[in-house]
Structure formats: structure tokens, C-alpha cells
Symmetry: C2
Subunit: 559 residues, 2 copies
């Protein structure tokens, strides 16, 4: 929506004026001149920019139609001017490290596109998607972000960006340095720069909250990544999935066989890590585990074979109707191709009942949002168990085995379990608690961010809500006063009503007075009317899992 | 266990001494003499009693084996004495109303058995089942209680009781007065005197907490009763159940046909009223509804035909495996024979999917704990929907109908739904919330009772825990300090592990210091790791349903 920049400096009707809150952000654009000096822009390009942007009137995204018309006229005018202008000077050269030092308005906001370097400081507040979104790309390349948000794929967007060019990348910055071949993680795939990395090796990262609820389906590049081990490099042509039934009968399926022999089934499902929101639990008392914020949860449309179909083909008897059967405690065990130095693979299991249930829709997925699985998400095949903790949706699947017992894997037996707050590492008995399968009801606020200063007037609070076991979220309550009074949020559209595997995105608009301090709280209610607990301490547990207390965000309202 | 009384006055080894706490209860037996005067006992019977009981040493139930031996010798001795004694005098006559005035140790504790009246004040503290249990019968008949607890069905129990005889019922107390024939509730059945009545017409009552967790299966007589209308009088020989399939095909089944044509299936399931624990919600802000305490929940072993089998016999197609089918929103609607003055019956519905699921084990029950259904619980046939709010388990079932929509009944559409705390009777939109089906996780403390003075030393806390949807309870945390620190309670045995329809009874033993004030709190965790919310106000709703916050009981510890 860069095209809207073309309207800068024009006099607009009052409806198009930005709400007062943006004046705060505008302050960021009047950066000290000294900082400008660090990025000397070629005169022909920078000279006019401050005048054009300073005091400019940003425009609401809702007015895109008018904006397009105006931008078109503006572009024609400038194209004509450019034809008469002298040849552009040579640009200074920068390294990527130098670009990376420009990430905030006070140090100037630089981005790259191809080998060009741009100073978009003046544009930050004009970005129709919001200043917070464009700042996610600050100091780095635009391409990964533009790839996610198709609105940028228009010729005039790139053309308008050229106004901000201040330099070019040094020629030796073309390709990244070769990886350390002794590093087991050297073969890991490249990742999106917007991801917030909690651990690099193994790679564990979550999307920033601002992007998490931008769309109902999380773009693959932003989908939270929970790797326990290095990402295996799988050659799809030689891939084989081993499926073992109870009587010694086994199948070995190539990727092509998995795709062709079984009907493709699609499910829109949210996956959540058991450790989502662990960082809030750590603030009560330290826990062991990655410090996930609220982003260890994402939603995709998965495509693949039903696990049920594959198990039946492997000779497993369907006794799901027989609730008193001997096999009611049987499990289906999964192993991944990811393994530690001793060769022990990642593993987990789910009850056979769930695996065989047509309604549970457990998949051996080879597609994620319409494309083949990305390497970080299990290429070429992963399990997707809707409604169940992500840890059971084993990636880089190498084997499926029906067994009278749970998976003996560390991650099934000695991890991903909940305990009483009084249990510590001296007293814990992992055998005493059930392995987490279905997760409890959850919700979190993605906007505004903690500590933000929001504009007086109408505040929009956004977030997500989800529950395990297919228990669709039926209501989200939001409080602006720490939980004393509550309003009902509006739930966004859900593509598959009635199949409760996916989250609900929600929004609440409420008037807020200038100068107030708001303690924003959200809590969700699922189809079984389960609710979230009020506070973190009483659900604290030594591994920091199942952190689903009310989510709280404190902000101030500007005057 | 009255036989243990025979040991009174004997010197016992230290192991058999009662814990210190019982001294408090002994105080109750030293009632002012003036009260004794109100119940002049015939000399031959009362004279020796105070001497025998005062300062007597009660015995723990664990010592029953020894007690039986001692009691046998004692009985033989007294039988010999009785043969030599002069003929017993005539007893004074009392009305039931007069007996009912003696319900506490300070006003003397009287009970009746047959037409005899007994003053058991001195025995209260000796009762092996605990003083609280025997006091439930105070002022009334023993028979209903002895009928529930088989330990009383021994000849010597009755013989020992005779020592306490103080009078006889007046001859005109034999039968209760005839009912008012203009009263639609005149035909309601007799009820157990221990039930705590929340509403007499229609009859709504719950067992006292002390009895609620006495046994895993709630005795039929104590099972909480939730009637919306008068109890229908059904002649089993002419009873017909109408079952309507989707294509106009219908069955009409007699009771004998229901029993013979379909295999009997048995399920141990807990039923809970949506309004259980409503009285705690009312203390936040008034709500509309019966003031249930913690006893609107009970457990029974139900026997009957599977609803699935009956529906299939009526021509309903089994498409439960087809999760994307058009009938995923279809319901099975139930109507009762109970109807209001306009002839409108009680009604409710459940999703067709649940009705057809073999695993959901929905029953058309004709047995409750091994006997035919009592009239208050739906004789001759009721629905039992395990894991679902009691309101859907329609009693006195007259019809079952498969329908593309939910039941149009008031109780499905305009009641039994949850709302945001800000919704009041002016703003409520019953169409906006889903009808309650599965209930959220729940637990409560049944012992000690609020405000009790408990003995220093080891305290035993007891209670129940349950969750809807078959999500078995996996843990109960108990706090003695208002929720600051927690311990894990011990879960009692459950007859059918893995089938999570029934509650867990739990117990925590903990040392408590003299003089302390304890804020006892419990909270349960279910198989999906759902937990209870900390406090009531944030889940308050105008109908006072779904009251499942932490349960709190404050007690003091005696010095």
C-alpha cells in the first residue's frame, strides 16, 4: 500500500485525517539531523523528501480506492519529471551489517530490496499496514515480508520505493558465507527474518504478535517452529514411510504412494506448543524450557492422507466402536527422521482410538497451506493431530507403529506433562501424570502490545482463542480494568464452523479516555464451557507447560 | 456399627484411644439436665446409660473385628440380665412433630424406629460413622438411613438401640395425612428425609455434603433430584416410547420390548445439574434459579438400551464417520411425560453424532444402581447422556425424534446457556449462546463443612471432582492457605478407569496446628488439562449456571 504515499502533502477532507494517536509516531520522523548525516542521500533523491513528508497527512487503509486514483496521477507526473532529470549519481555502498544498524526511527530505518538500500524513515508512519508492521523489516530485506503480503506485488509499489534509495549493497554481500560443515545444524533451512528466535540450534521461533493474527491462516514462513533436533535433509524420491500393524504386517510407502493410494483429506487446524506463553510462567518462578511468548501457536490448512486410511491399509482392525475393547489403551507411535547424536529419533504417540477415528481427522500431511511442507515443518511428511498438543504431530515422519503401549520416547514419558505447583525437580515423578494430548482452552491479546501508548478514542484489541479436542471457542471476554468488568469480543469468521480444530481470531472495539491506564485482560470459553484460570501461579509447573491463565496487557492512553 | 457401643467403659490399649479431636464432640453429650427432663426415660432403661457412656472411649471403625467379639459377649450378658428384670413400664407417647423438635445435642437427639422413640444423645459421639452422619437422622425416622447403609442390618444393632428407648409414637401418627387432590404435585413420590430440599413443588433436592461422598455410587434415595414439573404417574404395562427417524419411519416400544429387543448396556456415570453450586454465584450478585449448594451432582450405575441401537432400529443411518456430512448439525430431541398445565412437556436434545456414537454410550435407561428407576428419576425410562449436563438426560421419556434442528423446548433454547458477566436480563440474547452440552471441570470439598471447628493433628479433607465429555479427572490440588500453596490429593479407586464418565472421590490428609484458621481450597485437572477458574465473579452469569470456580471452605482448628 505504498501507493498511498503519493497522496502526501495533499489537502484531504477531515474524514481522511489520521486519529490523534498517530501524532506520537509522527514525532519519530523528526529525527535529529546528525543521524541523517550518517546516511547521506544523493541530492536528487533525498532533497525533496523531507519537505514532501514532513507534516504529511497519512491516510486510512479504508480509502484505498481514492488513493489508487490519486497515486496513478502522481506517478504519471513524476515519470514525466524523471525523463527530464539529470542522470542519477552513483550510490554509496553498504554492507548488510551496516544496514542492520538502522532499525528504529532514531537511528533511521533502512531496508534493502535486491541490492538497493533505502531509508524509509519518513515512510514508516505512512505505511498503511501500520508502523509496527514495516518496522519488522527494519535493518534487513523487504522481500521476505512482501512475499507474505500480496498487496506489495504491484509495479507502482516498487516504483514509489525508489524515491527512498540511499545506497547499494557492497558487491561481496551477494551470498551468505558457507556454513560450518562440522555443525549438525549447518543443513538447516533459511528462515524468515520476522521470526522471533528462542533457540537457534535446534531452531525454535515464533511469529511476532503483530503478525500472528494478521490472517486466519498463518503464512508458512511465519508458522511457529518447534524443532527438537537438526532438520533432516530428505530426498523425496527415496523417502519411505514404514507403517507397522499389530500382527507384524507392515507397509512401506513412497511419497508418491502416500499421495496416490489414499484420498487427499484437508483440515484447517491450529497447532500449539505445550510451552506457549511459558515466559509468563517463568515470571512466577523459574521453569525449564524455551521462553516462548504468546506466538507458539499457528494455524494452517493441512492436506494429506488420513492416518485412519493408512492404518486400515496396513491391516489394523477398526474397533473404535467397541469402547470396552482390550485395545482401548493401545497407541499409535510415531518416529521422526530427526535424531540426536546417538541416533535416537524424536518420537511420540496418540491413542489408537483417536488415530482410527474418522472424526478426529488425524493426517499424514504432505501439504501446508496449499504447498508442499516446508523443511522446518516436516518435509516431506508429518503427522497432524488436530486438537492435540503440537508435540504429537511428529515431523519428518519415518515410521508409524501400532502398539499396546504409549511411545517410550523421552518426549512422551519424561516431558510434556503437567504437575501440581508443589512438585519440583527433586520430587517429580513423570510416571504419575498423563502425557498431554488434548490441550486446555487458551487465548491471548496480540494487539496492542504490552507497555504501548495507545490513542484516546476508540481502541481496538485483537487476539486469538483456541481450545483442544475440537472444542470450538464460543466466546471471548475482554476486560479493560484488570478483570473487574467484562465485554464480549467479536469473533472473526471461521471457514469451517462446527469443525472446531482451528482458532478464532477476535476483536474488541471500545472507547478509551485520554490519560487512562488500561489493564487489558482476555479469557476464552470453549464449546464445553471450559474457561481459563485467572492467574498463573496456581497452574505453575516445573516444565512451564499448559500456561493458559488470563492474558494481560497493560497500556497507557495518550492525552 | 452400633455394636461398638458395647465396648464403652472398657479399658483399651493406647492404640484404640480416639484422636484428640473427639474430646470436642464429647462436650456435646454433657447436655444440661433440664433438657433430659423433657424426655423422662423409664428408670430401668435410662438409669444406667449416662454412667456407661459418659467418659466412654469411642473406638475406631478399623477395629471392627475385635469389636464384634466384645459386642457378642456383652450382648449375652445383658440378655441374661433382661430375663431377670421386672416387666418394662409403659412408655410416654409422642407425636412426630414432638420428636422433630429434638435434633441437636442441646435439645437432645431423638430418633424413631418403627413406632418407638429413642433418645440417642449419648450415642451421637460414639457413632462409628461419625456424629455428623447420625445427626442427619435427628428428629425423624432411622429406617431411611439404615436402608442406605447395610452395616445397620444386624440384629444386635437394633438390640443395642433399645437401650435408648424413651417413648412411643402416638397411635394416630401411623400414616401421613391424605394429599390435596387439587394439587398437581399431590402424586409426587415420598422422598428421603436426608435430602436438602431447594424447592418442594416441583421437587428439587440434593444430598447433604456429608453423605455425598460416602460412597462412589450415590444411593438412589440420595441422588440429587431436579424436577421441572410434577412427577408423572406411569403405568408400566401401558407405557410406550415413540422413536421417530428422519424419513417418517417410527417405532413404538413397550417397556418389555425396550428391555428384550436391545442388549442391556451398563454405564457408571455422574450427572450434574448446570446449576450445581449456584448459591456461591448468588453471593456475587443475585441470579435466577434454585439455590443449589454443592450437591446437585451424583453418580449411579445406569442400565438400559443404547440410544444408538434404538435409533438404528428406527432406520436412522449411521453416518458418524462422515465428519463433513450434512447431518453434522442434526439433533435427537427428547420429550418427557412431565408436562405443564398447558400440556407442554419437558424437552431437550443432543447432537445426533453423540446419540449415534458407540463410544458416547448414551442410554435409554430403565435401571439405576441395579433396580428399576425410582419415580423421581424417570420411571420407567429416562435418557442418560454421560458427560453432558443433566438437563439433557430427559426423564419419564415419551418420545425420541431425529431432527435437523435442536429441540425447540424452552429448556434448550431459553435456559441452560452461559453468558458474559456483563449480560443482564435486559440485554440477554439466548440465541447468541450455545446450549450447554458437555460441562466444564468441577470439584468441591464435602468435608469438613464451612465454619467447622476441626481437631488439631491430622485433618482429612474429602471431596469430589468430575469433568464433562468423558474427560476423566487426573489430579486434584488442595490448598489449606487460600490458594498460596498446594498439595496433591489422593484420588479414590474408580471402577472403570479409562471410561471417564464418573467422578473421582478424593481425600487429602495433612497435619494442622492448633489455633490455625484454614482456608481450604480445591481445584481439579481433567484429562485435557483443563482447570477450574480461581474465582466466581468473572464467570458470573445471570442464570447462575456453570459455577465451577475453586471451591473454598474455611474452618478453625481447635486448641
Amino acid at each position: 500500500m505504498l501507493l498511498l504515499r503519493a497522496m502526501a502533502g495533499r489537502r484531504l477532507p477531515p474524514l481522511m485525517q489520521l486519529p490523534r494517536g498517530c501524532s506520537r509516531l509522527a514525532a519519530g520522523s523528526t529525527a535529529p539531523e546528525g543521524h541523517r548525516g550518517a546516511a547521506p542521500a544523493p541530492e536528487g533523491h533525498r532533497g525533496a523528501a523531507p519537505g514532501r513528508h514532513r507534516g504529511s497527512i497519512p491516510v486510512l487503509a479504508a480509502l484505498l480506492g481514492l488513493g489508487t486514483v490519486l497515486a496513478y496521477g502522481e506517478r504519471r507526473r513524476r515519470t514525466a519529471e524523471a525523463a527530464q532529470a539529470p542522470r542519477a549519481p552513483r550510490y554509496p555502498r553498504y554492507t548488510r551489517a551496516e544496514v542492520a544498524q538502522h532499525r528504529t526511527p532514531s537511528e533511521r530505518v533502512w531496508v534493502t530490496y535486491g541490492t538497493d538500500v533505502f531509508d524509509v524513515t519518513e515512510f514508516v508512519e505512512l505505511h498503511p499496514g501500520g508502523p509496527d508492521k514495516i518496522l519488522l523489516a527494519a535493518g534487513g530485506a523487504l522481500e521476505p515480508f512482501w512475499a507474505l503480503y500480496a498487496v506489495h506485488s504491484q509495479a507502482h509499489v516498487l516504483e514509489l520505493l525508489r524515491d527512498y534509495k540511499v545506497g547499494e549493497l557492497s558487491p561481496d554481500e551477494a551470498s551468505p558465507p558457507p556454513g560450518d560443515t562440522g555443525d549438525p545444524f549447518a543443513g538447516d533451512p533459511p528462515r524468515h527474518p520476522a521470526l522471533r528466535v528462542n533457540s537457534l540450534k535446534p531452531f525454535n521461533a515464533e511469529p511476532p504478535p503483530e503478525l500472528l493474527t494478521q490472517s486466519f491462516l498463518t503464512p508458512n514462513e511465519l508458522f511457529f517452529t518447534r524443532n527438537h533436533l537438526p532438520v533432516p535433509a530428505v530426498e523425496p524420491g527415496s523417502y519411505r514411510l514404514r507403517v507397522e500393524g499389530p500382527g507384524g504386517r507392515a507397509l512401506s510407502l513412497s511419497l508418491a504412494e502416500l499421495r496416490q493410494r489414499f484420498p487427499k483429506h484437508e483440515v484447517t487446524a491450529t497447532l500449539q506448543c505445550a510451552g506457549n506463553r511459558r515466559s509468563e510462567m517463568s515470571r512466577v518462578r523459574p521453569v525449564k524450557g524455551l521462553a516462548w511468548d504468546i506466538g507458539a501457536i499457528s494455524t494452517a490448512r493441512w492436506g494429506g492422507a488420513r492416518l485412519r486410511d493408512v492404518l486400515l491399509a496396513a491391516g489394523v482392525r477398526d474397533s473404535t466402536g467397541d469402547s470396552t475393547g482390550d485395545d482401548s489403551e493401545w497407541h499409535v507411535c510415531f518416529e521422526g527422521l530427526d535424531a540426536d547424536a546417538s541416533g535416537t529419533p524424536y518420537g511420540a504417540s496418540i491413542p489408537l482410538k483417536r488415530a482410527l477415528s474418522a472424526e478426529a481427522e488425524v493426517l499424514l500431511a504432505y501439504e501446508m497451506n496449499g504447498t508442499e511442507l516446508p523443511r522446518d515443518h516436516g518435509f516431506p511428511v508429518r503427522v497432524v493431530v488436530p486438537g492435540v498438543v503440537g508435540a504429537r504431530s511428529v515431523k519428518w515422519l519415518r515410521s508409524v507403529a501400532v502398539s499396546p503401549a504409549e511411545s517410550p520416547s523421552h518426549w512422551q514419558q519424561k516431558d510434556y506433562k503437567g504437575f501440581c505447583p508443589s512438585v519440583d525437580w527433586d520430587s517429580v515423578d513423570f510416571g504419575a501424570a498423563p502425557a498431554i494430548q488434548e490441550l486446555p482452552v487458551q487465548s491471548a491479546i496480540t494487539e496492542p502490545r504490552p507497555g504501548a501508548a495507545v490513542a484516546a478514542g476508540e481502541l481496538t484489541v485483537k487476539g486469538y482463542a483456541w481450545s483442544g479436542g475440537g472444542r470450538e471457542v464460543v466466546r471471548v471476554d475482554v476486560s479493560l480494568d484488570g478483570g473487574r468488568t467484562w465485554r464480549e469480543a467479536e469473533l472473526g469468521p471461521r471457514p469451517e464452523r462446527g469443525r472446531g480444530w482451528a482458532w478464532a481470531l477476535w476483536e474488541l472495539r471500545a472507547p478509551v479516555p485520554a490519560g487512562a491506564r488500561l489493564d487489558i485482560v482476555c479469557k476464552a470459553v470453549d464449546r464445553s464451557y471450559n474457561v481459563q484460570p485467572d492467574s498463573v501461579a496456581p497452574i505453575w509447573n516445573l516444565r512451564g507447560v499448559l500456561s493458559n491463565a488470563w492474558h494481560r496487557v497493560s497500556v497507557t492512553v495518550t492525552r
